[in-house]
Symmetry: C2
Subunit: 148 residues, 2 copies
């Protein structure tokens, strides 16, 4: 699959939208030196091409009382399919993301919990579902994210 080619102005628009996804076309137009209609057209085009898959809101989960973040590495029995892994992990509401992994372990799960007891409980829940044969949990102390 040949990558979709962006010129410098497309990159500028993506950067502007990453910093503020609700920025208006009329606000961006003078910043990139094009008319409002041209900006709209470019963004529609990137949406159409699937480069832009959508827009979303950024939420501070700690402010809502979900202050603890952790990654858990899961190892499964040899007979477990990716579909089984996904169906057992993704139905746990504390799980934010699941990455299936090449190599000796099988999945890396990103989760958010309220406190340590809650973390313990979620890990137990994950160990109980399906054919988990081993876990290792990394508690996040701090995080940095590229302009998100």
């Amino acid at each position: 699959m040949t990558p979709y080619e962006l010129d410098e102005i497309d990159h500028q628009l993506l950067r502007l939208l990453q910093a503020d996804g609700r920025r208006t076309f009329s606000e961006m137009a003078p910043e990139v030196g094009l008319s409002v209609a041209a900006v709209k057209r470019r963004i529609d085009r990137m949406r159409q091409a699937g480069v832009i898959t959508g827009f979303t809101v950024k939420i501070d989960h700690a402010k809502l009382g979900w202050g603890i973040e952790a990654f858990t590495e899961l190892r499964y029995a040899g007979t477990t399919s990716v579909r089984d892994i996904l169906s057992s992990t993704t139905r746990t509401p504390e799980v934010q993301a699941v990455f299936t992994i090449a190599g000796d372990l099988d999945a890396l799960v990103h989760m958010r919990v309220r406190d340590i007891n809650h973390l313990q409980e979620v890990i137990d829940r994950l160990r109980g579902t399906g054919k988990v044969i081993g876990t290792r949990t990394l508690m996040v102390l701090g995080s940095w994210s590229r302009e998100d």
Copy 2:
């Protein structure tokens, strides 16, 4: 810090904005059964309280030719401060996110690269900077993310 309390309508609004961060107030108003002004006030309030930290665009990096995603666990020499870890990792452009971690390892780095050679090169770069004394890389085969 006591968590900010959301009622059912606030949760609905957050869900709507997670699915489409550019949804208009007038579109959301009838869906939650309030007036446009009331919706705006609630969202302004959540912004003010820091629950909503912003809005952003979702990008399909694979479509742009950055098709490979990986996590690298980094172990540092005992004298390394968190500031040193962040300054050495975050200036690598392929690094998307850095999590500092409790326990025997020190950081988990999320990165995006174009291909395997590129991955190799970035890992070497990370091993070269600062006081890295060990790495372990998990290549992502697939991923799932809660409504993103």
